[in-house]
Structures are given as structure tokens and as C-alpha cells.
């Protein structure tokens, strides 16, 4: 007899709601939640059962027996692993204080427990991967609205014009969002796409700007210039809700379309036509402010300029524009009890300097990469313990060799993950989590036009001796004497505790897989909109006080990106719809679909290098290099080469992904220190590589 399990996908960090059919403890069918996704699910989501069946993942706790990274492990029991970690953490806390322990989390709705664990231990050092992802976008948003990146969502379906600067929305995909974009296009909406290479998102675009790498900011500035010149912006909105417009007008003067056309390598009349379209389509125009925008040294300002364009459109709380997501409270519902909220906030300075040395950054998760510096300098205190939950910093951050040098100053590295990660492989202990289909999660509240409560439910029993994180952290907390902050023994008890103030019980998820908290979306009236702007001044600050206080410009003059030196190319990376960064590369089915990455090379450049499609090229930077197959692209910008992130893994137990393709982050020598001082994001596209035809291409074969 088949039973239905409502759950959440875990193949990437979008966490689409899913419905799973199970028979005899086997997954027989997975589909997108029919109430929310009309059953649609992406290819990664479809490969979930292959992950469960795959034996090439940690199957029981492992404690390192050789040097770090040697791959020699002792298979131990859970109790032994818990005791080992607790003993080490006790010793670190005793000698250096609990602040010497940091914990990183890959992000997502179930972070409450992770924060609770590190705060319960007495350390302020909760962090995440975001300085290689959306931090610039987040800080740009904060500097204007006082609202973070996730405090604004986009009503793409009802918009007339979606503008994407490098946001490859149909490949780095979220199922619901993809369908919103396609519905918008079906309804006759326009899509403007800006990128250094043609993509499948570009295929659907009504306007495509193939720009020179690193010039997004120039195009955004010129668009601002021409919109203001043509007076094609929402004057009433600017007057009422913003400050600093006069300074913007003064600043923007030199950046006209003629200048930008030259800088970006596009046609001036195309920019002017684009501006004309914006004038027609506003306010139902959305400038996507970027997703993964830890790219160039001016990405923060590029994102800020895209936000400014939204503001000029006057699209805030407008149908087809930007929407402020609503929470349970907006619909009169009580929220969940939070584990983290019951714990006194540790008062020590953060180890990454955020909140005292760097005052303009969001204190929440701080900036992971700055801890590396602290590990070396021991200022303000040493970092001795690093716990990463579902996060692989050695793949996520640039220059893993530099990271390992810093990590060598620590006494304990713990990886809690369903996969072997490069970090896990270098760690002292691997605690294997069960896969998302084998575990329950705590309940989370999801804000949106229609907020809801969501939960992940175990579909099948774990195949191996793996455990869910709620159990792992509870066991560690008990051993470290703060088990009182984890007031449960079973997941049912945790759910009950979380729901205590609400009128709901876990059974209420049974009907649709989620609990809707408000069915009728509403827009905040203009008269009440001012109260939603959370800057100190209560205005949208085109010139930000926070940035000025930190001696940083809000309107930064444009600097042209450096052209690559002779024989070198700017390394651009991105995603494929078939892989979620590094953690799906070894999935048997996804590996079959895309076993390795390739290096995209401009057609003209490839001819010059004497390379044809499918031949090997050698790519190298200062400290790393290797062969990779070439893919010839007609319209990739000649200054750039491109590859999909996540490949080039070196974990021997992952036989499929072992040394398959090439790693972009290992090519990024020296980039660990290259942070955007205003946005906090790393500048991962500020990397030049040498490309040559490889000697690996066989010329003749003399073997008998």
C-alpha cells in the first residue's frame, strides 16, 4: 500500500515543497506539491532517490586517524563521536572561551536550531556561506531600505518587464519562479537579459545585452541617467519616500548611454530603446538586484544601482513589482516558538569583526571568510573549533589551500553533512546526517504574499547509520551541559514545543503538506508604506547614512574593469540546471547527465589557440591548474572563459566525481582576501587564468 508523505526537497537550497509516495520503505514517486507547484519538479529533485541509494556517502561517524586530509578514518559509534567532540569542545572552551568556536550553516529556513546550538555553547560566532553568494545584494538592500535581501520578493508573474543582470533565472532555477517567468512571457511580458555569455535564459529574452565582463554597473548607471533625463520615473514616489535624490542626479551626470555603450560593448540605440520600454512598462518593471553577486569589485554598487532602478520605477508594493513578504503576524496568527530566542545572546565581540570593527555589515551571520584571518592573527581571540553544518567552505570559498593553512591553527574541525565534502575530508570528525528523504526537520515559518508553516518529513528510514541534525545537536548539547535549550527528546516533542503558542498541531500539515496562514494576499497602501522602510531616517536612503558613517561612498564613481593580461582570461563561473554546486556532482543519475564541466571559450579565441570543440585545454592560475575539455561558444565575451562551479573534486571515495572536470575555486589564488569593503562579498570573478591547448590531446598512438 502506497502512502503519501508531504515534505520539502533537499537537493538544492530552494527547498521546493514535495509530495512523496512510499511503498515498503522505498520512494516510488516524488512530485512538486500539487497545491503549490502543480506537481512540477526539477531534474535535481528527481534524482533524490538515487542519493538515498548511493553508498558513496558517509555511512557512520568517522574520526580521523591520519593527518588532516589523508583520508584515513576510524569508523566509530555515535556515542564515541559525540564524546570525542564534547571533550574537545570542553577543552577549547576552558582554555580559550566558548567564543573560540564558530559554526557555519549553509542557510535556509531551518537555521533556528543551528543558531541555538552555537549561542547555547556561549559563542556569538554563527556564520554562513553568504559572502560568496548574496551578501552584496543583502547589504545593498539594507543600505537603501533598511530591509534585507529576503525582505523583498518579486511579483514576476504579473510584471510587464523583468530585467536580469547576469541572473540566469531559468538555469539556476527555482521551480515556482521559473513558472512565474514563463507565465509572464506567455502573457506578453518582456525579458531583458544582460550577461557575458548566451544562456537558456537569454534564449527567452526579448532584449539581450552581451556585455564586457565587469561592466554591469556601467549599464545600470546609464539606465539611471537616461531615465532621469527623460523624466521617466515615479516622481511622487521619489519625493515621498526617498532622500538623496539631488545627489543622485548630480552624480549620474557623466554616465550617459553613449558612454555606457562604449564601456559595455553594446549599441547606444539599444540602451535608448530599453529605456523607452521601461518608461512604457513602469511601475510593473522588476530589476532583479542579483542573487549570487560576489563577483566583481563593484558588484555591491552594481546591485545598489539595480535597487535604485527599482526605486525609480516606484515598484514597491505594486502588483507586478517588488512585494514586502508578509509573516504570520500580518494575518493575525501567532508565530512559532524559537529555540534561539530563549537563549541569552552571547555578548563577546564577534570573531570576524562584524558589529565592532565592521559596523556597516549585518551582524546576523557575519562574514565567514573573515574568520580565516582571525585564525591566523588570533585577534581578538583565537578560533579553535569550526563546525560546518551542510556547508563545504573549501568548495564554497576561493583558494582552498589558503583556507587549509588557516584551518591548521584550529584544534577541532567537524563536518555535519549527508555528503562527503572537501571540508569534511579535511576535518577531524564527520557526523553523517541522513539525506533529506530520510529525516524530519523542525517546523519553519515561510514569509511571502501568503505566509505558511512548512516542515520536512521523513519519507523512508535511513539506509545507513546516519542521524538527523535535530538529534545530533541535542546529543551534543546534553554532553556540553546546555541540553536545557533543546527541550525535547523526540521530533514530535520539538514540534509540539514550537507550535505551543499557535492553534495548530503537526496533524494540520497532513492535508496539504503546509499550513496556510492567510489566503488573500494584500498590498500595503502607499499611505502606510513609510512605516515599512527600516532605515534610521525612515526614508529610502539613496545616500546611506550607514555607509557615510563608515567613510564609504553610496554613489561610487565607475572604474573600468581591468582587461586580462595577454594570454589570460577572466574566469567566470555559474550553474547548470542539473547540479547544485558541489553536492550533487557525485549523484549517480546527475553524474550521468553531466559528468564533468567544460571550459567555454570564445570561438575566435579558440581558433587562435588552435582548440576545437571537445579537445583538452590546460587552465592554470598561480597555484593550481589542470586539463579540461573545451566548449566553443559563439558569443561568450572574448575576455572571459566560463565553467560550471562544483567540479574538480578530490575525494577518492566519491568515485564518479573524483577529479572529474576542473574546480573554479582552486584556480582563484589569492581571492580569499579580496572582499568588497562596502558589500562584504568576495570578488570571485576578479580572477585571471592562462589557457593553452593541452598536450593531453593525442596526436598519435604508438602502443602496440
Amino acid at each position: 500500500m502506497r502512502k503519501t508523505i508531504w515534505s520539502m526537497c533537499g537537493m538544492c537550497t530552494v527547498r521546493c515543497p514535495i509530495r512523496v509516495e512510499v511503498e515498503d520503505n522505498k520512494v516510488k514517486w516524488i512530485e512538486g506539491n500539487p497545491h503549490l507547484l502543480n506537481r512540477a519538479l526539477c531534474g535535481k529533485g528527481a534524482a533524490g532517490p538515487a542519493l538515498v541509494a548511493d553508498g558513496e556517502r558517509p555511512r557512520q561517524p568517522l574520526i580521523r586517524s591520519g593527518p588532516r586530509g589523508s583520508g584515513r578514518w576510524d569508523e566509530v559509534s555515535w556515542d564515541t563521536a559525540y564524546d570525542y567532540i564534547a571533550e574537545k569542545l570542553h577543552a577549547i572552551c576552558k582554555e580559550h572561551g566558548p567564543e573560540s568556536v564558530m559554526m557555519s550553516f549553509r542557510g535556509g529556513p531551518f537555521g533556528d536550531m543551528i543558531k541555538a546550538f552555537i549561542h547555547g555553547l556561549g559563542s556569538p560566532n554563527f556564520t554562513n556561506h553568504d559572502s560568496t553568494c548574496g551578501r552584496n545584494v543583502h547589504h545593498a538592500s539594507l543600505s537603501l531600505y533598511g530591509l534585507g535581501r529576503t525582505d523583498l520578493i518579486y511579483d514576476i508573474k504579473n510584471s510587464k518587464h523583468l530585467v536580469l543582470f547576469g541572473r540566469n533565472i531559468l538555469a539556476s532555477l527555482r521551480v515556482a519562479e521559473v513558472n512565474q517567468v514563463l507565465d509572464m512571457l506567455d502573457n506578453g511580458g518582456r525579458l531583458t537579459y544582460v550577461d557575458v555569455r548566451p544562456t537558456l535564459t537569454g534564449v527567452k529574452a526579448s532584449r539581450f545585452f552581451r556585455v564586457r565582463p565587469g561592466t554591469d554597473y556601467a549599464l545600470a548607471l546609464a539606465t539611471i541617467h537616461e531615465l532621469i533625463k527623460a523624466e521617466a520615473y515615479d516622481k511622487e514616489f521619489i519625493e515621498r519616500f526617498t532622500s538623496g535624490f539631488d545627489q543622485l542626479v548630480e552624480f549620474i551626470k557623466p554616465y550617459d548611454s553613449k558612454w555606457a555603450a562604449k564601456e559595455c560593448g553594446i549599441k547606444q540605440n539599444h540602451i535608448m530603446e530599453f529605456v523607452q520600454e521601461l518608461a512604457e512598462d513602469r511601475p510593473k518593471v522588476i530589476f532583479h538586484p542579483g542573487w549570487m553577486l560576489s563577483r566583481y569589485s563593484d558588484s555591491f554598487y552594481a546591485s545598489r544601482a539595480l535597487h535604485v532602478l527599482n526605486i525609480l520605477m516606484g515598484n514597491l508594493e505594486v502588483e507586478g513589482g517588488q512585494i514586502i513578504p508578509k509573516g504570520p503576524g500580518d494575518f493575525g496568527y501567532k508565530g512559532l516558538q524559537s529555540l534561539d530566542a530563549q537563549i541569552p545572546k552571547p555578548t563577546q565581540k564577534r570573531g570576524d569583526g562584524v558589529g565592532w570593527k565592521h559596523l556597516h555589515f549585518d551582524k546576523g551571520p557575519g562574514l565567514f571568510h573573515l574568520f580565516y584571518e582571525t585564525m591566523v592573527t588570533k585577534d581578538p581571540y583565537p578560533i579553535k573549533g569550526v563546525i560546518c553544518y551542510r556547508h563545504d567552505p573549501l568548495t564554497c570559498f576561493p583558494d582552498p589551500e589558503a583556507q587549509k593553512k588557516a584551518l591548521d591553527n584550529t584544534d577541532l574541525l567537524v563536518s555535519i553533512d549527508a555528503h562527503y565534502s572537501e571540508f569534511g575530508w579535511y576535518s577531524d570528525v564527520i557526523l553523517p546526517e541522513c539525506t533529506y528523504l530520510e529525516r524530519d526537520s523542525m517546523i519553519a515559518a515561510q514569509k511571502g504574499p501568503k505566509p505558511r508553516l512548512i516542515v520536512r518529513r521523513k519519507a523512508v528510514d535511513p539506509v545507513f547509520d546516519t542521524k538527523p541534525v535535530w538529534e545530533i545537536l541535542k546529543n551534543l548539547a546534553d554532553r556540553l551541559n546546555f541540553g536545557q535549550y533543546f527541550p525535547y527528546n523526540t521530533i514530535e516533542e520539538l514540534w509540539e514545543w514550537q507550535l505551543k503558542n499557535t492553534d495548530f498541531s503537526i496533524e494540520d500539515f497532513a492535508e496539504k503538506g503546509f499550513i496556510p496562514l492567510g489566503d488573500k494576499p494584500f498590498l500595503i497602501e502607499r499611505d502606510k508604506l513609510a512605516s515599512k522602510i527600516k532605515t534610521e531616517s525612515g526614508k529610502i536612503e539613496l545616500v546611506s547614512k550607514k555607509l557615510s558613517d563608515a567613510n564609504l561612498p553610496s554613489l561610487k564613481p565607475y572604474e573600468s574593469p581591468q582587461a586580462p593580461p595577454e594570454g589570460q582570461f577572466r574566469l567566470i563561473f555559474g550553474r547548470s540546471p542539473l547540479h547544485s554546486h558541489s553536492h550533487t556532482i557525485n549523484n549517480p543519475i546527475l553524474h550521468e547527465m553531466m559528468p564533468e564541466n567544460t571550459l567555454w571559450i570564445n570561438k575566435r579565441i579558440a581558433a587562435k589557440l588552435g582548440v576545437s570543440e571537445g579537445e583538452y585545454v590546460d587552465v592554470s592560475s598561480k597555484d593550481y591548474g589542470g586539463p579540461i575539455k573545451a566548449r566553443i561558444s559563439e558569443q561568450l565575451h572574448p575576455e572571459a572563459v566560463y565553467m560550471v562551479h562544483g567540479f574538480g573534486r578530490e575525494i577518492p571515495l566519491q568515485t564518479r566525481s573524483f577529479n572529474a572536470g576542473l574546480s573554479d575555486q582552486k584556480l582563484m589564488s589569492g581571492l580569499l582576501d579580496k572582499m568588497d569593503p562596502a558589500g562584504g562579498g568576495l570578488c570571485l570573478c576578479e580572477c585571471f587564468v592562462t589557457v593553452k591547448r593541452s598536450t593531453k590531446n593525442p596526436k598519435r598512438r604508438v602502443e602496440l
Binding site: G43, L173, V178, L182, K204, P577
Partner: protein, 150 residues
Amino acid sequence: MNKYIIRLNTKRCIGCHACEIHCKTNKELPPGPILCEIRHEPLRMVKGFPKTITHFKSCHHCEDPLCIPVCPTESMKKRDDGIVYIDEEKCIGCMSCADICPWDSPQFNPETKKAVKCDYCMDRLDNGLKPACVTLCTAHALQLFTLQAV
């Protein structure tokens, strides 16, 4: 006459290949056989826009299938609604069907050592459901049509 046809709305297809994996997962196939495919040419620039055309390919369920007469065990069969399918019990994995098929529709399943092919998920159709690829398509680009004689 064939009763069913699967059509790809290329305006919505995003080339994510999810249909191929949904098919494999539903049929519990190991790496190797791929029963339906999205094919597209590399992106080319046409008047300043990247362009490609995506095609969906699965078994054509031929009116007069070549694979049926060559099957030595009579395990390849055609239903009244036109669906060509393999009776797995009888199949010996000789792959004569694959040799004769111009489109490589039957494929070898290394786990069962038998042939496997697209059968429009006939178990699902018979239960009033749609094939896995159509039901689960990321972009709702695949559609199942029931043909009627006119």
C-alpha cells in the same frame, strides 16, 4: 491508430532535462538507459539573440513497429491504444529490438539485463494519470494529447 501523443511546448521548455530524470526515477532505472530525451543544438546567435530549438524525443510508438516482429520471445507488444511496450517477464535481453529500431528507442537495462523502453507510463495512464515526464516537467512544457479520429 495511436491514441496518445506527447508534445513539447518549446516556448516554455527551458532545456533543463528534468523529464529524462523523472522518467528514470519513475522506472527505477540505473545509469545507462535514457528513455526520453531533450535535444538541442548549441546556442547560436541570430540577430543578436542566443537561439536554439529544443526537441523532445521518446519512443514513436510506430503504427507498424519494426521491433515487434523481430522479437524472438514475442515480448514486444502493441496495445489497442497504440502503446508499444515490453512484457518484461518474457524479455531475454537479446536487444534485437534495439538493433532494428531506427531511433534507438529500446535500451538495455544493465540491472535487469533486459530491454526497457518508453511505454508512455501506461500503468499511470490506466489509472487516469499522465506520464511521469509530462506530470513533473519543471516548466509545464510537456503536454499529453489524446487523439481523436475526425
